[in-house]
Each structure stands twice: as C-alpha cells, then as structure tokens.
C-alpha cells in the first residue's frame, strides 16, 4: 500500500517541479473536462496554451499577455512579502480600487490642463491611496490586535461601494448624458498611461511590475529587512529573540502590498481600462493571491506565474470564442490549476513510500 512519509527537509527538486507538474495534470484533467463537453481536448488545450503565443493572431495576443499579467504580477509581488511573514492581506482588490480612484481623481482634477507633471502625480496618488487603504488593517492589527484577513477583506466591499459612488457621483463624466462612469482618460494625453512602445502592450504599469520583481528579489536576498520578513514567517519566536520588531514588519508588509496594489489600479484605470466605472475591478486583487502561491512566493516564480495566469485567461477567451467552450469551463480550468498545485505540493514535504502490508 501507499504511505506518506514526512521528509526530513522539504525537497528542493519538488519545490521547483510541483508547479510544472500541476500545470501538466491540469492540462490532462482539463482535457478530460473539455472532452466531456464534446470538444476536442487536444485542440482546446492547444488553443489555450499555444494560440496566444504562436497562433495566427499572436501579434495581438502577446502584448495582451503583458497587459493582463502586469497588474497580477505587481499585486502578487506585494502580497508575497506579507505572506512570507505570515501577514495575510486578502484585500488587495480594495487597495487596487482605491489606488485607481486616487490616481483618477488627480487626473480629473487637472482636466483639461496638459502638463508633464500630471502623470507622475497620479502615480504618487495611486501608490499613496493603496497604501493608506492597507494601513487601516495594519494599524488596527498593531493597536488592537484585530485580524488583518477579515479587516482587509471587508474593506474590499467598502472600496467597491466607494467606487460605485464615485462613478455615479463626483467623478461622473459631465458630458456623459447622465450615464455613470468618468471621462475616458485615454482621451486625455497627459493622464493616459500609453504603451511605451506602440503595439507592445508594455505600458508603465507593466514596467513597474518588472521593476517590482527586481526590487523584491533584492529585498529578500540582499537586505536585512527582507531577512527579517522571512525569519518572521519561518520562525516567529526566533525572530522575536533576534530583535525583529513585529510592528514594523506588519506596517511594512501591509503598506508595501497596498502600495503595489494601488499602483496596479492606477495604471489600469489610466491605461487599459481608461475610466472609473462601476465595475472597474475584475478581481485582479484576488487572482493575485493565486499567482503569489503559484509562484512559490518567489519574485521570479511570481513573474512566471503571472504570465501563465494571463495565458489561461487569454487562451481561455480564445477557446470560448472559437470553440464555443462555456466560460464556466474556463473558470473551472483555472480553479483546477490552484487545486492541483496545492495537491502536488504535498510532495515537497512528504514522499510516497510503497509499503508491504503486514499481518496484524
């Protein structure tokens, strides 16, 4: 019979191998799902993973991978720092919204003035907005010991209502015939987060995401603060004995994850989305949690995981359009990815042993 045996040390091989394994198992199980729906599984898998990269219209989809992956990576990098220290910011979606609102507010306040300093100010406002929104759970945790998971999550719903109020009220386009939604920032050159190279999909937010990857890598591997974060997560008692200040870690981790989520929101509202609308947020803040874990909370891993997630989104859309796959099947497929990742994760800490059954 099979028996699980705890490894004395987590296996390094499997730590790297499990994400790949999870993707492969997802492909197999997903293929079975698609076959059960009466679609050709090979074609479906090819459409999802191959077509966006090398298909006929890859020239359009490849840049879209960056557009979709950028905010996921940026948010996930921020979250991963907290997750490493055992600080669970589940409310990135809310910080993303508030960052977007603050950035857009700056732009709309200056409209129609054209000046070079507007966009940098928007970046600043977006970062600050996201950070302040995350400071609420941080301060409550530090002062009163509240649970940051609950507080940050609840603040998502507050932010969503704030977004609706803004889209319908203060930020509503005065030339919009009474319809909700702000002016489209794409029509306002000073505020438009344009592609840095046209057709590349590379807007300032994607660049920031890449910079965040480098920043997080350096922080975690070369900096005392990064060491303290890792120590707090891996050995809280040891961290305390070695003089790590938990308050500082909490404030930093929640602050930086809020800041990055706020930035992501700001770049999204001024770029791909273009306007503050009631349903501006589409769940990047929550998906980023999956991305962070899929990437092993490692900066480079998150970069790859973010791009992979973007691939399943875009490939999934193509599969919907071309093969008529229902959207629920695509969501299931994405869910499987996390499910299998968590399942095969077991192999990192345990190994499977074949044991002969012994007589009782």
């Amino acid at each position: 019979m099979l028996r699980l045996e705890k490894r004395p040390q987590p296996s390094r091989v499997f730590a790297y191998l499990t994400p790949v394994l999870a993707v492969i198992i997802t492909m197999i199980a997903g293929g079975m799902l698609f076959a059960a729906l009466g679609k050709n599984p090979v074609e479906a898998i090819r459409t999802i993973f191959w077509d966006p990269l090398f298909g006929e219209f890859a020239f359009y989809y490849r840049p879209q991978l960056l557009v979709k992956g950028g905010p996921l990576i940026l948010i996930a990098i921020g979250l991963s720092l907290g997750f490493r220290a055992g600080i669970w910011n589940i409310g990135a979606e809310g910080q993303y919204i508030v960052g977007a609102l603050c950035g857009a507010a700056v732009a709309l306040a200056f409209y129609p003035l054209e000046a070079w300093y507007i966009f940098p100010l928007m970046i600043l406002a977006g970062a600050l907005g996201g950070m302040l929104w995350a400071m609420v759970p941080a301060l409550l945790k530090v002062k009163f010991g509240t649970n940051e998971i609950l507080v940050s999550l609840m603040l998502v719903y507050v932010a969503e209502n704030l977004l609706a109020a803004m889209a319908l009220g203060r930020m509503k386009n005065p030339e919009g015939h009474g319809f909700p939604g702000s002016r489209n920032l794409k029509d306002y050159p000073s505020a438009f987060n344009d592609e840095i190279i046209t057709g590349s999909g590379m807007h300032w937010g994607v660049l920031t995401a890449f910079l965040a990857v480098i920043f997080a890598y350096v922080l975690l591997n070369r900096h005392m603060l990064g060491f303290s974060i890792r120590l707090t997560g891996e050995a809280p008692r040891a961290a305390r004995f070695s003089g790590v200040n938990p308050t500082r870690i909490i404030l930093f981790c929640l602050g930086i994850s809020g800041l990055m989520a706020g930035l992501a929101g700001m770049f999204e509202v001024s770029g791909p989305s273009g306007q503050v609308s009631i349903d501006f947020n589409v769940g990047y803040g929550f998906t980023a949690i999956i991305v962070a874990f899929l990437g092993r909370l490692h900066p480079v891993g998150i970069l790859l995981a973010g791009l992979l997630m973007a691939l399943t989104y875009i490939g999934g859309e193509i599969a919907q359009g071309n093969l008529g796959l229902p959207s629920a099947a695509i969501q299931l497929f994405q869910g499987m990815l996390l499910f299998f990742l968590l399942a095969v994760d077991l192999l990192t800490n345990y190994r499977i042993r074949f044991v002969r059954r012994e007589a009782a």
Partner: protein
C-alpha cells in the same frame, strides 16, 4: 511611434483580410455580459442569435462569448472576434460602449451594433428597446394587485434606463392606487442570483407583496415563491417556469427580428449606421401572458393599456408630471421627448429615497 502604429494596423488589417477571404459565410459575433443560461437578458440575446442561425441557415456562422466583464477585458474579447473574421458584432451590454467604439476604429470594415448605448460611428450602430413601455403595464398590474400597498423594486445600476423603468412603473401603479409606495434596492449587478434573492427577501420582509426586478436572474421569483402570497414578473425573458404565480406576467425582449434585419442588411450591402429605439409597437418589447392570478378586469385594463401604447395613442410619460422635488416636468398632455428620457436622472414626484449619486 507613428511608424510602429501604422505597422501594427497594417498587420491587423492583413490578418483580417486573410480570414475574410477564407470564408464566404457571413460571420456574426455576439458579446454577452452574463452566461447564456441566465434565463433573462443574455438568454434572450442568445435566443435571437439562434433565430439568426435558423433564418439564414448555412449562409451565416455565429460565434459568441459569454460572461465578458465590462471594461478592459471587453475590448480584447471584441478585438478577438474581429480578428477571427467576424463581419458583424453585437455587443449586448451598456458597459461595452467605449470598448466597442475603440475596436471599431481599428476595424473599419467590420460592422458593430451596441445595445443600449449612445455612441455611434461610421461602422457602429446602437439599438435598444423601450422597456419603459412594458414597465407601465407592470406598474398597472402591480398597483392593482398589491394588498400591502408596498411594491419592492430590485434595481441594478442607477443609469437612465433603470430609472426610466422605475418612474414608468411608479406612475402607472400610482394611477390605479394612490396609496402605493415603492421600496427600491440597488443591487449594482445585472446578474447575481444570490444578491438578487437577498434583495427580494429584504423587500418582502419590509412588507412588499409585489416584486419588480431590473436584474436578470429568476432568483427574485424563487424568493417570492418561497414567501408565498408575493407576486413578481419575468424580466427580459418570460420566465414561464414560475407561472401562474408568482410570475403573473413578464417583459420579454425580442431581439430576433432586429438581428435578422441587420444581418440581412449586411448581406445586401445596405447596412448603415442607425439609432434604433423600438418598443411594443414594432415588437421589440413583448408582454408575456398575464396569468389567471390577475383578476379579469385588471387583465383587461392591462391589455388595453398595452394596445394604446402599441398603436401610439398613449405615451407612458404623459403630463401632468412633476419631478421628485416638486418642480414641474411635463404640462398637462405634454409627452416626454426622447432626449430627456435617454438621459433620465431624476425620480418623478411621489417616489421616496434618492437616486444613488
């Protein structure tokens, strides 16, 4: 920057041209905001898509994508359809407006039809239905049927289309029942069965015995059924499975004639930008069977009201009508103009509460 832009456009145009040559069928795409099985708004658009297939047979090929979020993702979904060689694309929710216009700029040879919006272009038409005409009939039945004089209304987003519906229903409920009161809950969603059910339950707890909804699922009707003695109406689709009660009638969106018409126009080469806003008369808005739960006389009045609206004798927004704050809006016998209706952002006199701002 300009050069790369031109190159990108050329590449897109090329991609488009090659697929266009490869097929002689007319390819029609649909972008849906909800799942095709929502039983309401998206369901009816998909029924119309099927009607297009049935009408044209081998001459058309249809593709659709469901549950497309409004915003940045919509632009990609529409672009993708255009890239895959669609000749005509229906984008069936208000929130796709800017995305539709943006994609239309990149694909001048593809025609676009945007539902319920107001931005048109050389290759973008808009179309919508005068749902408020159906709301008038609903309001009449609701006002006549309520015992508690409290009517619950599950509203989606505070946009003119929804506000128009509330006003129209209220005006006609009030006409038959001066004591009637509307309780309105804003759900901020078009389709979320759990949220809609919660809203319905809250309204029923507050004493409402008639539930009107501007959301797309059947959840409010299910909640009404559980509560007992509460009636409601099918929204966007007939929702006949809740007959004869709680569903006593319905507003049915009938897009099929319009879709067939537009596809035909494209095939004939006569497609041009249009701004369509049709109601009960041309058949874009249908009134589902009024069940026997509704007393004979109320049913007869409702059908008579439908008749006068259909033949243009009566407009649901006919003065004298004041705005909520008491300022006069329409004088005796005056009829609201389409411009005001399209941008409607105020309640009529008698409604309580504020439109969320």
């Amino acid at each position: 920057m300009k050069l790369t832009h031109i190159l990108a456009s050329a590449a897109m145009a090329l991609g488009l041209a090659t697929t266009a040559v490869a097929q002689d069928k007319t390819k029609v795409g649909f972008i849906y905001v909800g799942p095709v099985g929502d039983g309401g708004w998206t369901y009816e658009h998909d029924q119309a898509r099927k009607a297009v297939v049935e009408h044209f047979g081998d001459k058309v090929e249809t593709v659709y994508q469901e549950s497309v979020p409004e915003g940045a993702d919509a632009e990609r979904a529409i672009t993708q359809m255009a890239l895959q060689g669609a000749d005509l694309i229906f984008t069936t929710s208000f929130g796709y407006m800017d995305a539709t216009i943006n994609v239309a700029k990149k694909f001048p040879d593809v025609k676009f039809e945007h539902a319920t919006g107001y931005k048109t272009a050389e290759n973008v038409s808009v179309y919508s239905a005068r749902f408020y005409e159906g709301r008038a009939i609903q309001g009449h039945i609701a006002g006549s049927m309520t015992q508690s004089n409290i009517i619950g209304y599950i509203a989606s987003f505070p946009i003119p289309e929804v506000i128009r519906g509330i006003n129209s229903a209220y005006i006609h409920a009030k006409k038959v029942n001066p004591d009637v009161e509307f309780k309105i809950i804003w759900a901020y969603t078009w389709f979320d069965p759990a949220k809609e059910a919660d809203a319905a339950k809250v309204l029923i707890e507050q004493g409402a015995d008639v539930i009107l909804q501007h959301t797309d699922s059947t959840a409010p009707l299910a909640a009404a059924q559980n509560a007992g003695n509460v009636i409601g109406f099918g929204q966007a689709s007939d929702m006949a499975e809740y007959k004869p009660s709680p569903r006593v009638s319905s507003i049915i969106d009938n897009w099929a004639p319009y879709y067939i018409d537009r596809v035909q126009a494209l095939m004939d080469g006569t497609w041009e930008t249009k701004d369509t806003w049709d109601g009960i008369g041309p058949g874009m808005v249908g009134i589902g069977e009024i069940t026997d739960v509704v007393p004979e006389d109320v049913k007869a009045e409702a059908l008579a009201l439908k008749e006068t609206i259909a033949n243009g004798e009566y407009h649901p927004f006919t003065g004298p009508l004041n705005k909520q704050d008491g300022t006069p809006w329409l004088a005796e016998g005056e009829v609201a103009d389409d411009g005001t209706l399209l941008g409607m952002n105020f309640y009529v006199e008698g409604l309580t509460g504020e439109i969320p701002q």
